[in-house]
């Protein structure tokens, strides 16, 4: 049995310690907002927060996540009102949508550590999240918009 806190809720999970965190989130807890992309930490679709840091859940073993705090897109905000989620709609960022929860989770760590990122800061921080639709320009714009919203405090 492994104990794990996901989105501020404590779970006791009967799963092998080598199981990828992503499998536990999607198949055991049914939190399907986090997506399975490549399974090799190459695409960023499965990005979640482990103690506030962005990790690729497809290559993070349950043993590493045990007794730690995990946040997924479902727990990023109450009522989907994180500045990034608001900005994503303002800038109409998603296309097919598959990579977007991973993009938002990576961007959330960036904005926490750097509330006023430059284009270069964004490109550097987001380079691990790929988008086959090519929504990068809108994602970059949305992150700038989220930074502004966060500063103005209009959206919590």
């Amino acid at each position: 049995m492994i104990q794990i806190t996901v989105n501020k809720k404590l779970y006791t999970v009967d799963a092998p310690p080598e199981m990828p965190l992503l499998w536990m989130l999607r198949d055991v807890l049914n939190l399907t907002g986090t997506k399975y992309g490549c399974g090799m930490a190459q695409c960023g679709a499965c990005t979640v927060h482990l103690n506030g840091e962005a990790v690729r859940s497809c290559v993070t073993k349950l043993s590493r996540a045990a007794n730690q705090d995990i946040t997924t897109i479902e727990g990023l905000s109450i009522d989907n009102n994180h500045p990034l989620q608001a900005a994503w709609l303002i800038e109409d960022a998603p296309q097919c949508g598959y990579c977007q929860s991973g993009q938002i989770m990576s961007a959330a760590v960036l904005l926490k550590e750097n509330p006023n990122p430059t284009d270069q800061d964004i490109d550097d921080a987001m380079s691990g999240n790929i988008c086959r639709c090519g929504t990068y320009p809108r994602i970059r714009k949305a992150i700038h918009t989220a930074a502004r919203l966060q500063k103005e405090g209009g959206v919590k």
Binding site: I73, N80, C96
Partner: protein, 233 residues
């Protein structure tokens, strides 16, 4: 039976122009059953003028999307087509993917298929007619209700209006369900379009930016479902 056809992206980029351009992904599902088989008996009362539209007595409008949204934006564009003729706010319309059914066959290719950048142009008349048919029937029902000519009534954003009288589409669904759909309906002119050709933010963006965006591999499926990009909301 389901068959998925894809082409290698790079060879597609090289040969795409010769093929006529567009994304080539197709789902082929055998057609069977009529509308009655496709949908459960409705509660509350639901007006089903055609395979693409349902309006319930509580004023909920549902659009049935005959093609698969994969990021190309048809979730929004087909809704704009229907909304313009129905006279309803696209943002108020609940959208669902169609079940398998011959009613949803491609208007030109004769099978239920999404591809070749063909959705919006091939559905341009069908989704407008779907909305227009419903509007004509709702107006006729309201006109009979008031004892006036249909031509004396107009519509605005989910309501039928005659002078100072106003009634919602939902209130007319039961009466409209008893009427015979007209064979042909007049479509609005370009000058009358409110949504077509204008900018509208993607109607599926909230689901994709939040957590409700469900894809094929997010569903519980007893079989091995490996498709990734078809949205099933």
């Amino acid at each position: 039976m389901k068959e998925l056809t894809t082409v290698n992206r790079r060879s597609f980029l090289k040969t795409g122009a010769a093929l006529g351009g567009g994304l080539i992904i197709s789902f082929m599902i055998p057609a069977k059953g009529g509308l009655k088989k496709l949908f459960k008996p409705p509660t509350p009362a639901v007006f089903i003028p055609n395979a693409f539209l349902q309006i319930s007595a509580d004023n909920k409008i549902k659009l049935i999307l005959a093609h698969v949204e994969m990021g190309q934006g048809i979730w929004t564009t087909l809704t704009m087509l229907l909304a313009d003729e129905l006279d309803a706010d696209p943002k108020s319309i609940n959208i669902v993917h169609a079940p398998p059914g011959k009613e949803y066959n491609h208007t030109q290719w004769g099978m239920q298929i999404t591809g070749g950048s063909s959705t919006t142009y091939s559905e341009f008349d069908r989704y407008r007619k779907a909305g227009a048919t419903a509007r004509v029937l709702l107006v006729q029902a309201a006109a009979e209700h008031w004892g006036v000519q249909p031509s004396a009534c107009k519509t605005a954003n989910g309501f039928i209006i005659n002078g100072d009288k106003k009634i919602s589409y939902g209130e007319m669904v039961v009466a409209a369900s008893t009427l015979t759909p007209p064979g042909d309906v007049p479509l609005r002119t370009k000058e009358q379009w409110k949504y077509i050709g204008k900018g509208l933010k993607r109607l599926d963006a909230p689901d994709k930016g939040y957590t409700n965006g469900r894809f094929i591999n997010c569903s519980s499926c007893p079989l091995a479902c490996n498709g990734r990009h078809g949205k099933i909301f």
